[in-house]
């Protein structure tokens, strides 16, 4: 690791690097279609065969998804330098219920927060006087609407579905948190948690330069893309298989709008799955293409990302089993509602 900080770097050279990066990214993106078409054309496979279709899909999708994921993670990484858990907490402490729920769900998207921090975050919020329901809004929104989920939906399924996912994800986090707040379940926290009080702390803030924000974006790309690329490739491989081998329309019968039980089945299947969005979304894309209903597929995705068994086990340290059940039940009900609503509204 170098000891040269961003501020010591010659600014001009640094901006040139950024410009070079943007040009390189654009060139790579523009070259995607012709390059992958050429690669597919030299494959020793018969055209119109299932294997050819699967291989061509895979060759085109892998670089495309990784490029788009990188750009979205970069942008979110830069945005996140403007937020911190501590500042979010200070903002939410003492906010009234509804405003608090909306603020917490929105801040849940942009506040940098790692899953191993779930318990300290929860305790930090509750002990500083953030209402329980507001804390839950944050806890629900943060994993469900993360940059990887949004980035991949945008890259694979299109911006409309990504926007809808964002909207409904926010709605679930706000309403579920509000319901939990209305139920006044503070007494269901573990007793030592109820007793916990912490004075708000002020962290020494140092001015973050534009260069440091861009560096943070680059770090986020290295960190996140480095962690999830294998999931993405595996997910695209499954998607490619579905694309090439599953006949059109066959999924309509089991995952289509006509099958009423497909939404609860999708949620039940999604909860114990501990995958991140990166592995699920390429599969989602292929399922949609073969006739699965959008609501069913979104319900599956949301339950995978928002309700994870390992997270609930970690939270058991601070929440009673009853409270975890209410949390999971409220969120699952919200996801079911979104799934059905979608299947009814979008023909």
């Amino acid at each position: 690791m170098s000891n040269i900080t961003a501020s010591q770097r010659p600014i001009l050279a640094w901006w040139l690097r950024i410009a070079f990066g943007i040009i390189l990214w654009t060139a790579a993106y523009l070259a995607l279609a012709p390059a992958s078409a050429w690669f597919a054309s030299v494959l020793p496979l018969t055209r119109n065969g299932a294997l050819y279709a699967a291989a061509a899909f895979f060759i085109y999708e892998v670089p495309k998804v990784l490029l788009l994921l990188a750009i979205v993670v970069f942008v979110v990484g830069v945005i996140r330098t403007f937020f911190s858990v501590e500042r979010t907490r200070a903002f939410l402490a003492g906010k009234n219920e509804f405003v608090g729920n909306v603020g917490a769900a929105s801040l849940g998207i942009v506040t940098p927060f790692c899953s191993c921090s779930a318990v300290p975050m929860f305790l930090g919020f509750v002990s500083a006087g953030v209402p329980l329901g507001v804390t839950f809004s944050f806890l629900i929104a943060s994993p469900m609407i993360n940059e990887v989920a949004l980035g991949l939906l945008f890259a694979l399924v299109g911006w409309k579905v990504a926007a809808v996912y964002l909207g409904f994800g926010l709605a679930i986090a706000i309403v579920a948190g509000w319901v939990i707040g209305r139920l006044h379940l503070e007494s269901w926290l573990e007793p030592w948690v109820q007793a916990l009080r912490a004075a708000p702390v002020e962290l020494p803030s140092h001015k973050i330069t534009a260069a440091e924000r861009v560096d943070a974006g680059i770090d986020a790309v290295k960190d996140i893309v480095g962690k999830v690329w294998l999931w993405v490739v595996a997910g695209i491989a499954v998607g490619a298989f579905i694309h090439g081998y599953v006949p059109n329309g066959v999924l309509a019968a089991i995952m289509g709008r006509g099958a009423w039980w497909s939404v609860p089945a999708a949620v039940a299947l999604g909860v114990p799955m501990y995958s991140n969005a990166a592995g699920v979304i390429p599969v989602v894309e292929a399922l949609l293409e073969k006739g699965a209903a959008l609501g069913t597929v979104l319900a599956f995705m949301m339950s995978v990302t928002a309700l994870s068994l390992p997270e609930m086990i970690i939270l058991r340290k601070v929440l009673s089993l009853r409270l975890i059940a209410v949390f999971a039940g409220t969120v699952a009900a919200g996801i079911l509602a979104v799934g059905y609503l979608f299947n009814i509204l979008f023909l």
Partner: protein, 77 residues
């Protein structure tokens, strides 16, 4: 001798942070005593809501994510 507390439930980044403090202190020739705090209640009482958190001589200087080596040096000076 500077007393440094690293707050975190034992995740990877918390260990990296503690190692970083040790390494930077050695570079500066500052003697440090590093204490790792893993108890959730104690982490919350210190005001830390995102881990790893770092406290130097009783003052909270960092919370959330890996610190930068330059920042670590400035806390130890």
């Amino acid at each position: 001798m500077k007393h440094v507390k690293v707050f975190g439930p034992g995740c990877n980044r918390c260990q990296q942070t503690a190692d970083m403090v040790k390494a930077e202190a050695a570079k500066l020739g500052v003697e440090v005593e590093i204490e790792k705090v893993t108890d959730y209640a104690e982490i919350a009482r210190a005001g830390v809501a995102s881990t790893p958190g770092v406290m130097v001589e009783g003052k909270l200087v960092h919370a959330g994510g890996l610190p930068k080596p330059g920042d670590v040096q400035s806390w130890l000076k």
